[in-house]
Structures are given as C-alpha cells and as structure tokens.
Symmetry: C2
Subunit: 537 residues, 2 copies
C-alpha cells in the first residue's frame, strides 16, 4: 500500500476539474458549455468592482521584490496579521507551486517593480482583533511603479487586496513574473460570504479544514460556518462536558476537535480575514448529544412504555436549560465571533407526541396539540440564554417561520429550496437580516458544469424595497457531509464554490458566463497548484 501512498501524493489539489472544450462522445447529453476565450481580466476571481488593466508592464524579481509597510502606514512590523500575510503572498508569488497564468505582455519594454508598499490609513489597524460582519473590506490601489494599497479601516482588507495583487501576476512568454499597471477600486457586494462544512456526518481532519480555509481566502470567502456537531457524531471536545465527545464522537481521541485544535483553526482563519461561526444545532439533530448527556433528549414511547430511542432535546426539564446555559457559556468563550449559529431546523415532533410527560406538559402550557408551540417554547428559552452571553445568533429559517421572538440583530438563514423569494421577502419585511443558502447546496452533485447553476443564482431577485434588499447581508455555500470526507471533500468543493464566491463579491451585473468560464479556468490553475494537469498554462 505504500505504493498507493506515493501515487496518491499526486492527487492532492484544491480543485475539481472540468473539460475546457465540449467534445461529443458516445451517449452523453452535455449541456451547452460556455466558450473558453481570453478574458480581458486574466485570472481575476472574483472580479473586482472596478478594474482597469493598462498595457504598461512591470517585472517582478524574486530577489529584489518585497512587500512592506509604507512609512506613513498606521500599522507595521508589530502586526502579526500583516507580516504573516506579506510572507504568505511573497511565497505564493515567487517560491511556491501556486501557478501563474501565462500571458503575452503587451509591451516589449518593461520596468522593474521592486516593492509593494502597504499603506494602512485607519487609525486602528486592529491587528489582534477578529474580522466581523461590519469590517470595511473596500480597498483601492492604483498601479504605479510602486503600488499603494489604501485601507480606510481594517487590516483584514489587506488580505483581499494581496490576493487580488497576486492574481494579477503572470508569467510572460519567457517565464518572467510580470504585472500590468492596474487601477482597482474594490469592495464586496455582500458582507457575509460563507462556506458551511459539516464535521459530524464524517469527521474532517484539521488539515482538510485548514486547506479549505486557504481556498476560501483565495476566493474571498470570509465566514467559515462550522456545522460542528449533529446527529451522527459530536466531535467538539467540551471542557465543561467532556463526556459529550467521549461518548458522542466517532472516536473519543482521534475524531475530536480539542480546545487547541479549535484555537488553531480560528487563528488560521483570522489571519486570512475569515470569521469562524460555529453551529450547535438544537433541539433536533442532537442524537449524538444524548450519548454523553443523560436526560438531555426526550425519551420516545412505544405505547405506554419507553421505546429505548430518543427524540429532540427535552424541552420540559429545567436541567435542559441549566445544561444549555453552561454549554453556551463555554461556546461564548471558545469562539470569539460575535455570532453563533443555533440551528433550529427540521424538528421531528413524533417522539414528543409519543411521550406522556410531554403531552401533560403541553396541556399545562396550553399548547393544545400544536407542537410547534413547544418547539418555540424551547427555542425562546435558548435564545434568552444565549443573549445573556452577549452573542448574536443565526438560526435556520424554520425558527423565524414558527414565529419565535427574535432579537433584532438575528440573522435568518434561508435554506429551503421552495418559495425562496417569498421567504426572503417575509424575513426582510419583518426587519431581519438574512443570508441565503438555498441555491448553493454544493453536496448535490450532478454531471457536467454545475458551477453555472450556482453562478446564475441572484440573491436579490425577490420583490422588496431597497431597505429590504439591504437586509440580505450575503450567503453561504453548504457542503453537507453525507457523502464527503477527507478523501473527496476538497476536489468536490473547488472550484464549484468559487462560483458562489464571485456571486457574493462582484457586482450584480457580472454574469457573463463566457468571461467567467475563461477566468475560472485560469483561477482553477492557481487553486490547484502542482496537481493541475491538462490545459493549465
């Protein structure tokens, strides 16, 4: 098997693959594919808001070129985030295997570009802080012999800009690293550009998560929605309740995320301008919680006696809320982001219905037989608990649909494939911010270039006022874990997720499939590095 190990080393790569031409073959019913041409924007992905590439060419020498802080910059050598980003992008551009596309430079005579000065103009560069949904990510740079980045607020923006800069570098016909004088004014269309990974259905080794955070940065995603636990397993190692992963993980030592694992993932993400929003989904999707926490789940009944199986979280016991208080207190300290995702989707009422104690409780509370009232009762108490930790919360759309009272800063996560526009209309009419995932369930694979489907989706196509539209703060691509693990996750996800990345970053009118295809084909080469074969330049 060592042999396989060796061969397989070649199969790494951060991308999925598609053909660059449409050939007839046998039985295939191939959808019409866009034309692969030469985009005037090279391999820029996602496309900046405003970009003007001139024909003036500069050469970049690995020996002399360096990225450093401009004198007037308000942040400098002491900023770990900046220094780390300089080092990383210097490596991408010169010493790593990340590929640059090949271009014909338009001008024979080229000057040297020997430095990239980074000029941070914000008063507080917030080097040690975490990115947030209110981070100003806009940036501007004008290509001169020295390129200046101007940041109005946060250092986090820098990463987006360096990413853009590195995408502008190409090899000329002699293999020399080159960049055209380019003026860019850029900012994201949506502030929340997320990717959901599910570490419960299959455990994902840390390295897979880190590799995907890296790919996220290259596609200007800025939220890692970590669907960390669910029915199948509970890999989160809680300091307060270690028995949860001890009994609920696939393996109590090898298939858990320890506090230091979590810390590492959060820091790796922070250095790339990415927020980490954990999801602890209740009251449904909690089978694995029950293995380590007695009495947390509702005992289901078969006739007059317990069947031995369990349903959602038991909403009638005070111990449930004591547990949740302590648990979310811990979550609040472990995860620095201002938001936590509380789930709340797909609660199955059949177990509650079977339980005579629950029936009695329903009666006492005056809920009649409307179990969504019981669900709301639970969620309301949970939200109150989480509110005391000063965290904001995100919830799946059912919680809103069921009329639970929500804090005004709640983010409602729209995922259901039917009546998406109506839902967005309703949620924003009620004044809540919202993010969209319905068109972007990337675990649903199909033959051919399905990135186009993800690319075509438009989050603001629903009817509503400008104020309503502003409440759509972004979206998330979701890769649920039923059929993915370390062996296939990354090549299945990228560059399909890149399509969502551009939709959430670039202007609404950036929809030209041919141009996108041309840029994406090149962008894929950047992503995949040494594993790219076939037609990469």
């Amino acid at each position: 098997m060592f042999a396989t190990l060796k061969f397989a080393a070649l199969l790494l790569a951060v991308v999925v693959c598609w053909a660059t031409q449409d050939y007839d073959y046998n039985d295939a019913e191939i959808d019409e594919e866009p034309t692969l041409g030469d985009s005037p924007y090279g391999s820029l992905w996602p496309l900046p808001q405003k970009v003007q590439i001139s024909t003036v060419v500069f050469k970049l020498s690995g020996a002399s070129f360096h990225i450093f802080d401009a004198k007037a910059s308000s942040s400098g050598a002491s900023c770990r985030l900046l220094q780390n980003a300089y080092r990383r992008y210097d490596e991408y551009i010169f010493t790593s295997s990340r590929k640059q596309g090949q271009n014909k430079s338009k001008k024979a005579l080229a000057s040297d570009m020997s430095e990239l000065q980074v000029w941070i103009t914000s008063a507080d560069s917030e080097c040690d802080s975490y990115p947030s949904v209110t981070s100003d990510e806009s940036c501007e740079f004008t290509g001169m012999v020295f390129v200046f980045f101007h940041f109005s607020h946060l250092a986090d923006t820098l990463i987006q800009s360096l990413e853009t800069f590195s995408q502008l570098v190409y090899k000329d016909e002699y293999g020399a690293k080159s960049i055209n004088r380019t003026d860019i004014h850029d900012f994201p269309r949506f502030a929340h550009r997320g990717l959901l990974l599910d570490t419960s259905r299959h455990f994902l080794p840390i390295k897979v998560i880190l590799a995907n955070l890296e790919a996220m940065a290259w596609n200007k995603f800025n939220v890692f929605h970590w669907h960390i636990v669910d029915d199948p397993s509970f890999p989160y190692l809680s300091r307060t309740f270690p028995q949860l992963s001890q009994h609920g993980a696939y393996h109590p030592y090898t298939h858990v995320y320890t506090p230091s694992d979590v810390k590492m993932i959060i820091e790796f993400a922070r250095l790339r301008g990415i927020r980490v929003v954990p999801e602890f989904d209740t009251p449904g999707h909690t089978q694995s919680w029950g293995k380590g926490q007695k009495d947390l789940l509702t005992p289901c009944y078969s006739g007059a006696s317990p069947s031995g199986s369990f349903g959602p979280v038991n909403p009638m016991l005070n111990t449930t809320y004591d547990f949740m208080s302590m648990f979310f207190k811990e979550v609040n300290t472990v995860f620095p982001d201002a938001y936590v995702h509380l789930g709340g989707d797909e609660v199955d009422f059949s177990c509650w219905k079977s339980n005579p104690d629950i029936q009695k409780f329903m009666e006492q509370q005056g809920f009649g037989t409307d179990y969504s009232k019981l669900e709301s009762f639970y969620i309301q108490r949970l939200l109150d608990i989480v509110t005391t930790t000063n965290k904001g919360y995100m919830i799946w759309q059912e919680v809103f649909d069921n009329g639970v009272k929500l804090k005004s800063d709640t983010v409602v996560h729209v995922w259901m494939g039917n009546k998406v526009e109506e839902e967005l209309q309703k949620v924003t009419e009620a004044g809540f911010t919202t993010i969209l995932s319905a068109p972007w369930y990337l675990d649903y694979i199909s033959y051919g270039q399905d990135w186009q489907k993800f690319y075509r989706a438009e989050p603001l196509s629903f009817k509503g006022t400008d104020a309503q539209k502003k409440l759509v703060i972004g979206g998330e691509a979701c890769l649920w874990g039923e059929y993915v693990d370390a062996t296939n996750l990354t090549p299945r996800l990228w560059p399909r997720a890149s399509a969502v990345g551009e939709r959430l970053w670039s202007d609404r009118d950036v929809r030209d499939l041919n141009d996108a295809y041309s840029r994406l084909a090149k962008h894929r080469c950047l992503l995949s590095g040494p594993a790219t074969v076939g037609l990469c330049p």
Copy 2:
C-alpha cells in the same frame, strides 16, 4: 501554497466516500439506503463463488508469517510475477497502511499461522507471459493450519487468490492480525472485467494510472482499456510518427506517454494479472491526429472552398491506409495483448458530405448517398490491415450495426444506453463475443449512493440461447475524461467501480444490497488506507 501541499497529502486515497447511515437533513431527497449490518462475509469483495468461513481462528505474526512456494509447486523463486506478488501482499497484510477491518474473533483460543504455501500445479506457470482472455482464473483454497492455494493453470490466478486471502485477515479486539479457517472455491463469472480510462480529454500522469491499476487488482478487474487518444489530444508518443504527439499532445514533452512509460504501465499491470488493451479510435474522434499528420483527415468544405476545418479520417486516399499500416504495425509491437480496440464510434458524416472529392469517390464506389457505406469501406480496410498484424480487435457497437464484415473473434463493445438487450441479442445471434459498458458509464455522477445502480445491472438479462449468453465475455466500467483529471479521478472512481467489479466476478445471484453495502463499506476502508476517516474500523 506549500501549506496546501502538506494538507493535501492527507487527501490522497483511492476511494470516494459515502455515509454509513441515513440521516435526515434539510431539503435532501435521499434515496432509500441499504442497511449497514455485519455481513457474514466480512470485507470480502467481490464475493467468491463459494466461501465457508469457520469459527477457527489463526493468528498471523508479522515476524514469523511468510508466503512462499510449496515444495511441490511447479513455479518458484525464479518467477518474478510470483515473488513480486508475495512481497506485495506481505506488505499489505503487515507493514503497510492498508487497513484491516476489526472483528470479534469467535473463539478465544487461537493457533498461529506461520506460513502461506503457494502450490502451483500447472505444468507451465507462464511467469513471463501476459494475461489473456483465456487465462484460467479459478482457484481453490482450504483453510488448514497451512493454507494451500491450488492453481490448475496460470500464475495470474495467484494474484486474485492472494487478494482474497488478504481480505480475510482482520484485527481482533486486541489488534492482533487474525484469520478464520476458510474454505474457498472461486472463479470469475466473466473473463473480461475491464475499466476504461481516457487520457485524451485530460492527460493523466502515470502515477494516477498506476494507482488505479492497483485499485483494479484489489477489485479483481483484469483489463485496462486504455482510451489513449481522441479528439482533444494525442499523448501517445509513436516511434514511427513522433510528430503525432509533438503536435497533437497538450504538451510535447510533459503530456505524453513515452515508449518506456507505456512499457512500465504494461508491466505494472501484468504483475497484477491485468491486460492492457489500447484503443486507437478511428475514423472519428481523430482531430488530434490531424495536427501532426498531413492529409490524414478529410478537409471540410464551406460551399465550394475548404473551410479550414477537418472531419474524420480521409477514407479515399491510399496514403491513409499506408499510414494506418505502419501505425498499427507499431501498436502491435508496443502492446503485447492479443487485442487492440479500434473504436469506430460516432462518425459524423457532415464533413464528408461537404467535400466534393469525397462526393466523387462515393459515386465511383457506387455508395449513392449512404455515407455509412463509406464508413464501412474505411473500417473494412482498417480491419484487414490490423488482421495482418495478428491482433484481434474490439470495436464499438456501431461498426457491427453498420454491417461491416468482422473476424469471428471480434469483440463487439456495447455502450449505447438505449435498446441494450436488443443489441446484445443481435450481436450474439450473429455469433460475436461481446462486452457490455452501457450500464457502467461512471463519469455520469449523481447525488448519493449511485453504486447501487451499477450493482443492479445484469449483463445476461437479454433473451437468447445458452450459447448466446456464453458469448457475453464480460464488461467494462468507463470513466470518460471530460470532467476528471489527476485532481479528482481516483476518489470519483472508487469504490463506485467496485460495484461493477463484483457484478462481473461474483455469481449472478449475489444481489443482496444490504449484504453488499456492509461488505463494501469495509472494502472501502481497505482501499482507502490512511485517508479513511469517519467510521472505518
């Protein structure tokens, strides 16, 4: 990007992944999944024809256990094929990362098994020969303290047997390598169990091909159908016509298969009992040939003048047949297998129709306007050429459908999705051997457990006499290259192809989806080695 490299090392693996349980989640419409239980046959895949696993347990010690030739064996230390196989399987069982499933041994007291004697009884063990479609692959072994393999004919069978043996080894609850006394009588249902890889639409590095040959052996596939060239590129480096790959490959040096590359692949396959059948598809699917070989393709016309584009091979020129003679003479020496695949599918007549010289030729030949007659004319002459090289040939079904005169040992390859049973009926009625690919186009991906679809297919469901059924010598799983390259091929192909492997090897009645699912889940762990995470034991 080095970071990615490092992370990605974890993403290797020879398998695609599926969930082992069926969880509700969000919008999903999941097909009903089979139940994951404990098969009495452990991780055996494909299931042997007859197998009886007793409760008597032997332990295998890495220090003392070894595989060697029995004294009475007709083959021994001088046989490279055997020694290579012993070494390989010793490594799989003990020192490599290939996993063994965990089982509870049924008996507390176990003896040691210290050797596996291999007893070859055939007069000629054919150590240096290549596997062929007539290889006798049946084997038998009875589990005693020493296990004996009895081979009636060929050494190639040994590999299948050692594979089975290694699948029987498991770790007991203390992690000790164990094997139950097992009696097996095994032979494949079909002699031709193939896998098609396409190295034209995307170039596949040699290591990817070798990794897949390895996986093929683990699934008892024995034919690598190498669809080596096609429209998009011509990576085969021909000694006689080096200009073909010089101009037709994606890159003339990095994206070609040199003579020594081809040799290595053939030898690697031979050591695993796998035939290599190359396909040089003509007269269609030949755009890349035309780049290096002047006048080989038909010039298309736009009105009265050439349009600049080209169609299928030009069937009216003698130079065409001179070229084909020399080319297939080379193919005959490079590829030792008794068969070559000549393609012949999907010939587009529009270019021929547009060309006035072709029109004249049609008239001269008395073909009227029936261009399939012209196609047959070409193919007939090609077959005559190949026949002089003493190679047998395989062709796609259109060649048969068009009434071309075929040698009696021609293998007709049925791939079209419609009227499969009728086609099999017709082909076998005409007395030709046939292989089936129609149900096994693995490049068509879909959400969920699509292995079941491949598994359910039954090659002999058509109406016909016993003699006709016998003419179905097997089938091939096809992975066309539109959307696969080194980055995603292997995890996309395995273990989906395993389903085809069992259908072609095991008894017709082996169709229990639950049992198959249980074995396949364990088999996947064997395949994936260190990359397996989640629920592998």
